[in-house]
Each structure stands twice: as structure tokens, then as C-alpha cells.
């Protein structure tokens, strides 16, 4: 598959602090690429180098095979970016902000494109209001609209759900997934929220203290044999005892009268569900509490030990 981005031995030092240390990774066309790391791991610095805001101390960024630093203007015309908060001109309307950044993108497109992109991000109806009257979620959506307006192949979104309420986070994830699946964009999304990357990305990179600790397909990097599964039920004080008397007892990690957490292979779930139903337990919800968090902590701890 064609590589959209290839990062080779990228390093950034601020005085005596090494923020990014010899980082290499590749992003393939069509990837939703999760960029995962704790706060201060070097995600934002790397993302900023990918859009030319920060100059690398050494290393190379290639985009579709060409050097980014030598073809910066051409490369940027094919990138849409939202770096951290989408800070916009609050004293201007959303439409004015959108038009302004669209013009700066140096691509010709019909004016109907502005309407289209507002529809895509679900921001029609208030486009003529001043941005300072917008909620954080609306600003994030406008930020995505600005990143999308010139129809770039590569979208770079740095912590796009920061500052959003739970509903806003869910909507933003859905929007990003749609951009990847329906519009075919290659997307880099950085996050310190572990389950966020898991829910959105197909490939991911984990960095810790500026160094790569893991890279690959999300599905392959996570151990699918031991997944945390949470079962929410109508309160039932006797079910735990019954489960513990059976084979399910060994899988229980946490329990109370209305929620049970099991650590087991997801394939066992249908059988467990049947057992619960047979025991007249009213199952409200079954969801995966994936072990990405454990996985991440294991990786970063390993990296700390190796260093």
C-alpha cells in the first residue's frame, strides 16, 4: 500500500530537553492513524513538525515520497490540520472564518463547497453568528470544517476531543470515523485517551518520552484473548454467587449488584449472556472495556525499564 507519510529518525531538542527522539513511522493511504502517548510524550511536538510549525533538529519527513521541508507549500496545500484547540477569530462569523482560511488554502473550489463542508460537520444554521458565541463543540466542528474545506488528502487532528462534553466526544469520534470511511481521507489523530484511539483508529503508534514504543494495526497490537467485558444488569444480589459457583467465577474481575466485569476472550460472551438470561437476569448492556490501558502501561513500563 502507498505510504502517505514516512517519518525517518525525527528528533527535536529544545535546549537540553529531547522532546522527540529518533522517531520513525509510516502512515499508509487511507489509514486512520492513532498517535498515542501520555501528556508530554512528544505527540504535539511531532504533530507540529508534520505541519511545519516546529523545525526538526534532525531527521526527515517524507510525504508521498517527497521531502516535506523542501516542498512545504505544496505539501501543506494537501493537508488539513487542527492543532489542539481550534482557536479562531471570535469577532468574525463562522462563515467569514471558513472563507478566510479557504482562500489561504490556495485551491480553487466553488463557493458551494463552503456549504457542503458545513453540512459535513453538522454546523449549518448558525454559520453567520460570531464564533465567540459558539460552544467548544461547535468551535471544534468549525476547526474540522476549516481543515476539510480545501479537500486535503491528509487530515491531522491533534487531540480533537479535548474540552468536549461526553456527547460532543461521541459526535466528534463519529465525524472522524466518517471522514475516514466515507470520504476516504488519511487521518492522523493524536490523543492521550487510550480508548479513543482504539475506537477510531485502524493503525497506531505509541510513543513515550519522545520514543516509539510500538507501531502497527490496532487489532494486532492489542491482545484479543483477554478483554475486559462489562455487563450491566438490573440489580440482582444473588447472581455473583451463582456465577462464582460455575466456570464464570474465575473470569470475574469486579462486581456489584448491577455491574459485572469479566476478563476473558470475547468469544465466550454469547455463552455467558445465555447463562445470565437463563438465570432470569435482565441484561441491560454488554460492552468491551478493552485492555488497551493495561497494554499501554505495560509498553511504557517496559520502555522505562529498557532505558
Amino acid at each position: 500500500m502507498e505510504n502517505t507519510v514516512e517519518v525517518q529518525n525525527l528528533t527535536k531538542k529544545f535546549s537540553d530537553i529531547t522532546a522527540v527522539d529518533d522517531l520513525s513511522f509510516t502512515i499508509q493511504k487511507g489509514d486512520i492513524y492513532g498517535f498515542l502517548g501520555q501528556n508530554g510524550a512528544g505527540k504535539s511536538t511531532t504533530i507540529r513538525m508534520l505541519v511545519g510549525l516546529v523545525h526538526p533538529t534532525s531527521g526527515e519527513i517524507l510525504m508521498q515520497g517527497d521531502s516535506f521541508s523542501k516542498n512545504k507549500k505544496r505539501m501543506l496545500s494537501n493537508i488539513g490540520a487542527m492543532i489542539e484547540r481550534p482557536d479562531l477569530y471570535g469577532y468574525l462569523s463562522a462563515m467569514d472564518n471558513l472563507k478566510m482560511f479557504a482562500k489561504l488554502s490556495k485551491k480553487d473550489f466553488p463557493s458551494v463547497r463552503l456549504e457542503e463542508v458545513l453540512v459535513t460537520v453538522g454546523l449549518t444554521g448558525r454559520e453567520h453568528d460570531k464564533v465567540k458565541t459558539y460552544s467548544q463543540g461547535m468551535k471544534q466542528r468549525l476547526g474540522i470544517a476549516i481543515a476539510l474545506v480545501h479537500d486535503p488528502e491528509l487530515l491531522i487532528l491533534d487531540e480533537p476531543t479535548n474540552g468536549l462534553d461526553p456527547q460532543g466526544i461521541a459526535e466528534m469520534r463519529e465525524l472522524i470515523r466518517n471522514l475516514g470511511t466515507q470520504l476516504g481521507k488519511t487521518i492522523i489523530i493524536s490523543s492521550h485517551l487510550l480508548h479513543e484511539v482504539e475506537q477510531i483508529a485502524n493503525r497506531m503508534l505509541v510513543i513515550h518520552k519522545g520514543r516509539k514504543v510500538s507501531e502497527g494495526k490496532v487489532s494486532e497490537l492489542l491482545n484479543p484473548n483477554e478483554t475486559l467485558m462489562e455487563v450491566r444488569i438490573l440489580p440482582d444480589d444473588s447472581i455473583e454467587e451463582k456465577l462464582r459457583a460455575k466456570e464464570w467465577g474465575e473470569y470475574i474481575v469486579e462486581s456489584n449488584s448491577s455491574a459485572l466485569v469479566f476478563k476473558m476472550h470475547p468469544r465466550k460472551m454469547p455463552r455467558l449472556n445465555k447463562y445470565l438470561v437463563d438465570e432470569q437476569v435482565h441484561v441491560l448492556e454488554i460492552r468491551s472495556k478493552h485492555s488497551l490501558e493495561e497494554y499501554f502501561l505495560t509498553l511504557t513500563n517496559q520502555a522505562d525499564v529498557e532505558n
Partner: protein, 276 residues
Amino acid sequence: MLRIELYKIFSRPRTYISFAVITAITFIIQLAMYVDGSSFVEFAIQGVGDQFDIQGRVLNGYLITYLILQSLLVQVPLLIALVAGDVLAGEANMGTLRLLLTKPISRTKVVWVKFVSSLVYALALLLWLAIIGLGASVLIFGTGDLINLKSDAFIMLLEDDVLWRYGAALAFAALAMATVAALSVFMSAFADNSVGPIIGTMGVIVVLTIFTNLELPLFNLVKPYLFTTHMVAWKGFFDVPVPYEAIAQSAIVLTIYIIGFVVATMVVFNKKDILS
């Protein structure tokens, strides 16, 4: 991009603070002169009244404009810093610089456009000063010969020999204000909020103006190289004869400063990591 920058500048309410300040100061001077202008004129010419027989309307629009210019051309640089000091640092503070620099525009062009837009703003301020200073004063007080009282000379400029001098003085003032704009943009490249560059520019101008005005041998050595020394060369257009050579020299020094500040800003800004 220039149109966008100008749109941004002139869409912000703070931009019009400067226009309001100029209007207020001009109005106050005009009102004061309207109420008590004759005693001011009597006081001003009392030293020469015994030697010259001064006739005609001394208190006229041209004299008022000269007084306004003398007062305001010290304040206008500070008002220019208010906007020009904000062009890069303000964007960094708002966070919009990140978004702007992820668009396919070179940083050199960003600096150039920011400087030119600041310059347009400065020229708009000067134009406004000309309209309400010269235009309104002439309408209220009429025209007449212009008396220019200096510490060592008494210059009387005939009525029909004045207007072009104002045009030339304002053109030179534009060059001086361009220097201030370039200095402000330069300072703006170092900061991530606009307070620093605005106060920094004001500080530099105040300190250098003190150097320029103090008659001390040490300062006299450096005075020819300070841009503040040359910013007041517009006054030469109200001398007889006009010291064209000195004015041209001042214009060259100011131009060198402008080029220096703009090029230095480009170098600094191109090397800067945007972390805001």
C-alpha cells in the same frame, strides 16, 4: 492575503480606539483654540511683536493644524504600536497563528503581509489626522499665513505656500510611521502575547526620544544613528528654505531602519518554533 489581513484589522473594535483618540485630542485642541486661541497667539508672538508688525488672521486653520501635528506626531507611534505590535503576537496569543501557518503560505510572506497591513493602518491613521486636523481646522478657523515660531527663528509662511508643505510633511510622517510599524512587527515576532511588543515599542520610542532631546556629548554621538532623531524631520518642510538634503538623509536612514526591521523579522520568524 493582504485583503484578509486588512479585513481582520478593520473588523476589530480595538483598531478604532486609535481613530477615536486622535479625534478626541484634535477636537480638544480645536475647542481650546476656538475658546481661547487669541490669548494663546498673543502670548506666542509677544517676543516678536515689538520688532514685527503682524497683520491678518494669525489664528487660522493652518496654525491649528501645525499645533495638532506637533502634539499628535508624538502620540501616533504609540497608537500604531497598539495594532502593529499585535499582528504576530496577537495571533500567537489567540492561537490562530497555528492555523494560519498550516496553510500553504511562506512565513516570509506572512511577515511581509503583516507589515504591509500595519502600514496601511498607519497610513489610514495619518489620513484621518489630515482630514480632521487640517480639513476641520481650515473649515472652522479658515486659512491664512502660517507663523512658525522656533527657538531661534520666526518664520512666516504665506497662505498660498502652506498647503503643499502639509502634503510633504504628512508624506514624510508616513515614512516615520512605517518605521514604527516595522519596529512593532519586529517585536511582535518574539512574543506570544501582544502586551510585550506594544509596551516594548513604546519603551524604545520613549527612551530613544529622550536620547534625541538631551543635549549631552555622549548622546550627540549616537543621535545621527537613532531613528527617533529622523522621525521629526517632517518639521523641515515648514522651514525657509526647506532643508531638502537633511530631509532626504533622514528619509534614507528611516528607510534603512524599515528594511532592517522587516528583514530581521523575516529571519526571526522563519526560525521560530510555533509552540503557542
